[in-house]
């Protein structure tokens, strides 16, 4: 779970949801969730271009129900597609807070996993995985669009296995 926004009660914390999580019905809910992973496009660097390419005709993530959205309020997945600086981190946190739960994070590329080529720069924020609950790591600099699709498939597997960090079990 990300940070809780003040005065907003999360539906995921309600009693019905707590009950459903113990029943097989959750599998059906998860099946629905995994097939509509809408991701937020916020290109942040080289990986952003590959993310755009993954959404277009040559790779076509729409086949999996993975649709790019430009508004955080309509998105389920945030793809950290590049380098997080000290200046950008507050904005990224805000985007993350604006997304409705359940929500997932994918680390795309070396820059977001470890800082990549810029890991020792004065401007970098290191160890993103301590700030965001990251589900899938896609190494590569940048990863090919196929790798991004594979990342989404891994996320789908993780949701079905009930091990994702986006929803609490």
């Amino acid at each position: 779970m990300g940070e809780i926004i003040e005065n907003v009660s999360f539906t995921a914390t309600s009693a019905i949801h707590e009950f459903l999580k113990k029943t097989p019905l959750q599998d059906i809910i998860n099946w629905g969730r995994k097939n509509s992973l809408w991701f937020l496009t916020q290109p942040m660097g080289c990986c952003g271009v590959e993310m755009i390419a993954a959404g277009c005709s040559h790779y076509d993530t729409d086949r999996f129900g993975i649709i790019p959205r430009v508004s955080p309020r309509q998105a389920d997945v945030i793809v950290i597609s590049g380098y997080v600086t000290k200046k950008y981190l507050p904005a990224l946190k805000r985007l993350w807070d604006q997304m409705p739960s359940p929500k997932w994070v994918i680390c795309m590329g070396d820059c977001s996993i470890s800082g990549g080529p810029f890991y020792e720069s004065y401007s970098t924020v290191q160890n993103i995985d301590e700030i965001f609950p990251i589900d899938v790591f896609i190494p590569g600099c940048p990863p090919r669009p196929e790798a991004l699709i594979q990342g989404f498939i891994e996320l789908q597997k993780k949701i079905m296995a009930r091990e994702d960090k986006g929803s609490e079990y």
Partner: protein
């Protein structure tokens, strides 16, 4: 004319599809594609030139019987400098870039020499 747009769109119905059907069909890669490195343990002398050349310090020489490089793919840029610089040609690039590399946890991104030499599978049996 705006109608022209529609006509053009309808015409594209007859053009062949360009979508690469990953994951059902593996995409065509060029011969020079730089994926995960492969280590030939019989050739490697553990000199450490690859570790010195790496722009990202992603390679470290560790003791695994003899001294061999281990690789943090979370840092590796797949630039190919280590392959170019290896005096024994012990490192080569393969076309592994998706399935085995994408991991659920950060610490699994460390590839030991035996994994680089493909003596053990890159993804353990039943690993999620």
């Amino acid at each position: 004319m705006v109608v022209k747009n529609f006509i053009r769109a309808i015409k594209t119905v007859y053009t062949p599809s360009v979508t690469r059907l990953y994951p059902e069909v593996a995409s065509d890669l060029s011969d020079r594609f730089r994926g995960l490195q492969k280590l030939d343990k019989s050739k490697c002398i553990g000199c450490g030139i690859c570790a010195n050349t790496c722009p990202n310090n992603a390679i470290k020489i560790v003791k695994d019987g003899r001294w061999f490089p281990s690789l943090d793919v979370g840092h590796c840029m797949f630039c190919g400098l280590c392959i170019d610089q290896c005096p024994q040609e012990a490192l080569s690039s393969t076309k592994v870039y998706t399935g085995e590399l994408v991991k659920w946890d950060h610490h699994k991104l460390l590839f030991t020499p035996s994994m680089l030499a493909r003596e053990v599978p890159l993804k353990k049996e039943g690993e999620k």
